[in-house]
């Protein structure tokens, strides 16, 4: 029999959110993932942020898998992550990478933590006795920590480690640790692993006050903090206790200023790039400061260009200014001075009044950006590749996540500091590229664990086996009398056996449990253990081996009750508080719950392996090819008779050297002759119904005037967009006034001759970023305008070119094109929304008058050409496609994704995905990245793997259902529907997340969550409040 193919193994180096997302996506389709991170705990920057723009909420847990959710952790991501196919190695550095395409040998250095985190139950005695105190990096030195410490406050299990620089090796902690997991002489451990692909997700170093020369002039007081430190100041687990306190003396900070572009847009320090996200997080922090600090907090931001280019970012900017009173001052301040009364004063210049102002602040927050070069150079050396001309890792011109070296990919802030939705989107895209790469190699997926047939034991009378861990004999006076507890529990009806062991975490402990369970006649198991076992499922897998159904095993945290006796703040006068009763009630609640819990089984979903892609633009074609390459049958529906979409038919080349038209041509070529893709031109979507794995879509062929049906398992919406229309600034009344696209075409065909032109004026944000027009930034017009201006400069070195702008949106590394334009003598003049330039026609040609902001003087120009940047409009047909699929479309006409940050390419309904300009205006590279991500999400279900529902989902007891459909309207995921023909409520097992809202809305429990029934919870309430005595005398 052919030797078994090795399981596809992928190294994900870096466990910030994009690394975690890439790891989850790969683990979900069945690859083995090795997730490493240099810092002691995973989570990256996000572990420090409580609320993130543009929603000002957290919601990180919405990143967890939906259908295969029971393979992963089902709790707050800041506590940590667990997935059966992911091996997580925190505090581990990537030392070397050898080999090439498809089989790499990587050397990892697992740095010593001196604490075995698999057994540490987070009692915290070691922290209590540790004499050393030092600054806590997590809170940027605002708080103190011990030598033995928790790197992230919320992680559970606690992932403690010892900081050997400050540890005095006094050994107190070793003495007091009940499960003796501390080993002061542990060594770093070198590991070598064979992997088939690598995803780099290490993020980049952030500019900060300590390590950068040019920042020193700002470090005049502890009240000048970096933006990340400010996040800790307003966080519940940081120093926020109801008031925002300034670090120097703890007095409330009522006047706070933000200074933008700290460390970025600085040619002098060789950092001529923009860090993309600082404007948005400065606005967010200003809004939060007001909400948390109270109305009397005044917030001011000193900026150059307010770069809020993402989806719904402009509305956030408007709300910050209009509703939250954030004051914006367009002036880059030279420095901050410390006043005798510890306040900080800054002097700035107001162009309108041409006067200087000095104002004092309690706190100054520096919006610190990225410093990527060092990280990129280190990784480049590791991979034996050379950095590109911009001193960054050399990536594929069209695929931001693909390195030129085969089998190596990157995502997240390695592509340049990204916001959350891009980090998560790039994580999925990287996973997609890895899966495409591995599908070419001779590697297999992890064999899905076969679904255990329900054994006879499941249906017997419920009999519970209870296994309790005393934690350790070292605990002389434990606060729980285990004999009385054991006796009390044994007397309960339905309890088959009670075993009390100590040190369950030790190897012998595990072995004794295995032996006990093997001969047990019980069919339900309750274990009283501690956090590592609750949150890591190692014992659950152990119980499964001993024949217990996974859904009938419950592990509860007994150790925190056992240990609470130690630090009980108010011991009741009548001697010891009755912890035995506390443990008894808690365990009894779980026992009653288990007795009433039915054995749950998964149902496998029949998945139609075909995919539907709506829209034949570059994003649509890219997604179709990405799926077809992996053997998925794809139906590509295009409403016109040509492939390529707007970019593919009208943009010859872009400023960063891409050639969309020729690229679209060869993509179209591949699509037409690919055997797995069927193209349907001149077709429009009429209606769709069904759910993941079983969609049926009615399509109308406009040219043949006939309808036909397509059945498919999932769908990707890639309907794209086009240049915005306008009638402002006398457009249409003179042939000297054109839009950017008309200029681009005219220059390409030579129709427009700028050779003799003397003056050219461009106006940005025409009809965009304003209440009555498009209330969003179209993100690509500034870069497009600069490209056209440079093209004109090439043809006419003498002409005077003006670009009138509100904020130049050359975010990220495109800032270099803004500099290049200024070097070419293009003059940028800013205008504000309430003082727009005026255009009137004087005998047929445009005359523009506007205020020159720097010199505060009136200026008038009569240009040969006036070019208007009119932004990007969504396809009008989005509304019909949205109605057909039952998908929401926002007021700007773009599709509303499931979650703007955590599920950017998905819809709430599982099985429907979005990519490209259908989501929001974006550059070609971002559209291709989203297409790759959407393709991967689709492939996850159509890869031919067996997909089954989770154990715990909602079920309808049809006999007592009165079809009032209240459960259908209440379901946040649209996972329920009323089937007219069958006259029944249908639950879509894949989408249902068992949130239980339908069960509460349904008053007679016709809708019920299996495993969380009313009967069970009411039994737990009874147990919790029961008064009956625990066995007074141990028999």
């Amino acid at each position: 029999m052919a030797e078994k193919k090795p399981t596809g193994t992928v190294l994900v180096a870096g466990a910030g959110i994009s690394g975690i997302k890439a790891a989850i996506e790969l683990a979900e389709i069945g690859y083995k993932v090795l997730l490493t991170d240099a810092s002691p705990q995973i989570g990256g920057i996000l572990a420090k942020l409580d609320n993130q723009f543009p929603t000002d909420h957290c919601g990180m847990c919405r990143m967890l898998p939906m259908v295969g959710r029971e393979y992963a952790s089902q709790y707050c991501m800041r506590k940590g992550l667990y997935h059966e196919n992911i091996e997580i190695l925190p505090f581990t550095e990537l030392k070397s990478v050898e080999g090439d395409a498809g089989n790499y040998t990587v050397e990892l250095l697992k740095k010593a933590r001196y604490i075995d985190t698999d057994k540490c139950n987070g009692l915290g005695e070691c922290i209590r006795v540790c004499p050393v105190e030092t600054a806590d990096e997590f809170n940027h030195g605002l708080t103190l920590r011990k030598a033995v410490y928790k790197p992230v406050p919320h992680s559970t299990p606690q992932m403690l480690l010892i900081d050997m620089e400050t540890c005095t090796r006094c050994g107190e902690c070793v003495k007091v640790c009940p499960t003796n997991v501390i080993n002061l002489s542990a060594e770093d451990e070198a590991l070598t692993r064979q992997v088939h692909a690598i995803v780099l997700a290490s993020g980049v170093k952030l500019y900060n006050l300590k390590d950068f020369e040019d920042a020193k002039s700002w470090a005049v007081s502890p009240d000048v903090v970096s933006s990340l430190a400010f996040e800790r100041i307003i966080s519940g687990s940081g120093t926020f206790d109801g008031t925002i306190r300034r670090p120097s003396d703890g007095r409330p900070a009522k006047k706070i200023a933000w200074v933008q572009c700290m460390g970025s847009r600085n040619r002098r320090q060789k950092r001529d790039y923009c860090s993309s996200i600082c404007c948005m997080f400065a606005l967010k922090e200003a809004v939060l400061a007001k909400e948390k600090g109270g109305d009397e907090v005044e917030t001011t931001i000193f900026y150059m260009d307010m770069r809020t280019f993402g989806k719904d970012f402009y509305r956030y900017y408007e709300r910050a200014v209009d509703e939250h009173g954030v004051k914006l001052i367009r002036c880059r301040v030279q420095g901050v001075m410390l006043n005798p009364d510890k306040s900080l004063s800054m002097r700035y210049f107001d162009s309108e009044t041409q006067e200087f102002f000095v104002s004092d602040y309690h706190m100054v927050v520096l919006s610190t950006g990225q410093v990527p070069y060092e990280t990129h150079q280190k990784l480049a050396d590791l991979l034996h590749v050379d950095v590109d001309s911009r001193k960054l890792l050399p990536t594929d011109p069209y695929d931001k996540v693909k390195l030129v070296k085969p089998g190596v990919f990157l995502c997240g802030s390695l592509m340049g500091l990204t916001d959350i939705s891009e980090a998560v989107g790039s994580g999925i895209a990287a996973a997609g590229q890895v899966s495409r790469f591995l599908s070419g190699l001779d590697v297999s997926l992890l064999e899905e664990e076969e679904i255990p047939e329900p054994t006879a034991k499941d249906r017997d009378e419920p009999l519970v086996s209870v296994v309790l861990c005393k934690c350790s004999e070292k605990m002389q006076e434990s606060s729980v009398d285990f004999n009385a507890l054991g006796a009390g529990l044994k007397r309960l009806n339905g309890v088959g056996e009670v075993h009390i062991l100590d040190m369950l975490c030790s190897d012998e402990g595990k072995q004794t449990v295995l032996d006990l369970l093997a001969k047990s006649k019980c069919n339900r198991l309750l274990m009283g253990a501690c956090h590592p076992f609750m949150y890591r499922k190692s014992l659950k897998n152990l119980a499964k081996k001993a024949g217990f159904a996974a859904s009938l095993v419950e592990i509860t945290d007994l150790s925190s009750i056992v240990h609470r006796g130690f630090f009980d703040p108010q011991p009741v006068e009548s001697g010891k508080r009755d912890y035995t009763r506390l443990a008894y009630n808690d365990l009894r609640g779980h026992i009653e719950n288990l007795k009433l819990k039915p054995a749950l089984h998964v149902e496998s979903l029949s998945i139609n392996p075909a995919a539907l892609v709506v829209g034949g633009g570059i994003a649509g074609m890219h997604a179709a090819l990405s799926l077809a390459q992996r053997g998925v049958e794809v139906h590509l529906v295009e409403k016109t008779d040509r492939l390529g979409g707007y970019a593919g038919t009208r943009i010859e080349h872009t400023i960063d050297g891409l050639t969309p038209v020729s690229m679209a041509k060869d993509l179209a070529g591949k699509v037409l002759e690919h055997k797995h893709i069927t193209l349907h031109k001149n077709c429009e979507i009429v209606a769709t119904q069904g759910s993941l794995g079983a969609f049926e879509t009615k399509i109308r062929d406009v040219s043949k005037e006939e309808n036909f049906y397509l059945t498919h398992g999932a769908a990707i919406i890639a309907t794209g967009g086009h240049e915005g229309a306008t009638d402002e600034y006398e457009y249409g009344n003179s042939d000297q006034i054109l839009t950017q696209a008309e200029l681009k075409d005219g220059l390409a065909t030579g129709e427009i001759d700028v050779g003799e032109a003397e003056t050219i004026v461009m106006i940005q944000c025409v009809g965009s970023r304003q209440k009555e027009g498009r209330e969003y930034c179209s993100r690509i017009c500034c870069i497009g305008a600069i490209a056209n201006a440079l093209a004109i400069r090439e043809k006419n070195p003498e002409a005077r070119i003006f670009i009138l702008y509100r904020d130049v949106m050359t975010y990220g590394f495109t800032e270099q094109y803004y500099t290049q334009a200024r070097l070419a003598g293009i003059i940028f003049v800013s205008y504000s929304l309430d003082n727009k330039p005026k255009v009137e026609l004087v005998d047929g040609s445009p005359v523009i008058t506007f205020t020159e902001p720097v010199l505060n003087a009136e200026m008038q120009l009569t240009p040969d050409y006036l070019i208007l940047s009119t932004g990007v409009d969504a396809e009008a047909s989005n509304r019909e496609v949205g109605k057909a699929f039952g998908l929401p479309v926002n007021e700007d006409g773009f599709f509303v994704e499931a979650d703007s940050k955590w599920r950017p390419v998905e819809f709430l309904k599982v099985g429907l995905y979005v990519a490209g300009v259908a989501h929001s205006p974006m550059t070609l590279k971002d559209a291709i990245l989203q297409a790759e991500a959407a393709a991967h999400k689709t492939y996850a279900y159509l890869s031919g793997r067996k997909i089954h529902t989770a154990h715990t989902i909602s079920r309808v007891h049809d006999a007592i259902c009165v079809r009032c459909q209240r459960c259908v309207t209440i379901c946040p995921y649209g996972a329920r529907s009323y089937d007219e023909a069958l006259d029944r409520i249908i639950v879509d097992g894949a989408t249902c997340q068992a949130c239980g809202m339908c069960a509460v809305e349904c008053q007679n429990n016709a809708a019920e969550i299996m495993g969380f029934s009313d009967k069970q919870i009411m039994a737990v309430i009874d147990a919790g409040l029961s008064k009956d005595p625990v066995a007074a005398t141990p028999d």
Binding site: S217, C261, R265, N266, R267, R268, Q269, M304, C331, R332, V333, Q334, G335, P340, M346, R347, Y348, F349, S351, Q354, F356, R800, Y818, T819, R822, L823, G825, I827, F828, E852, V854, L855, A857, E858, M859, Q860, L861
Partner: protein
């Protein structure tokens, strides 16, 4: 500000370097400039803009470049490395080369008290920060006399001595 006669190549005469074109008028150079406290204030950013626009008339008779105390703080802090201090000197050179009668009145200040700005006045601020008293030349009459004789030997002072002998 009359933009009609602005000469778009003026910057090549005044300050012919690519550095100037890097400026995106972020006004970092303004807020820390000591001479910006004067009246009229020296606004380095505005001068750079006038050079880029090529407003010859306004630049010619603008005295503010002469108020610069050459502390080079603007150069230290300019993010786009426009080297504004070099530009100020370039504007001064261009102004005098175009009109040799242009002798800045500030030169009288230098003759009389050794500085263009009145330096020794902020005594209390210096005291509050624990700094020593400033020894200015006006407090040492004999040194001042020697200094003035030395200046009288230079052509720009001797040829315009009408400006210097106090009545």
């Amino acid at each position: 500000m009359d933009f009609s006669q602005s000469d778009k190549d003026l910057w090549k005469q005044i300050y012919h370097t690519k550095d100037l074109l890097h400026c995106f008028n972020c006004s970092t150079c303004l807020s820390g400039c000591p001479a910006s406290h004067g009246d009229p204030p020296l606004l380095v950013r505005n001068l750079a803009r006038m050079v880029v626009y090529g407003l010859e008339e306004d630049l010619l008779n603008d005295d503010t470049p002469w108020a610069c105390v050459s502390c080079s703080r603007c150069e230290e802090m300019c993010p786009m490395d426009v080297k504004p201090f070099e530009m100020i000197l370039a504007i001064r050179r261009w102004q005098t080369s175009n009109d040799e009668t242009r002798v800045p009145t500030a030169i009288v200040e230098i003759y009389k008290r050794g500085y263009t700005q009145s330096v020794g006045t902020n005594t209390e601020l210096r005291a509050s920060l624990g700094l020593p008293e400033l020894q200015t030349i006006t407090k040492m009459p004999e040194m001042l006399k020697l200094y003035q004789e030395m200046l009288m030997k230079t052509p720009v002072v001797s040829e315009n001595d009408y400006m210097f002998n106090e009545e």
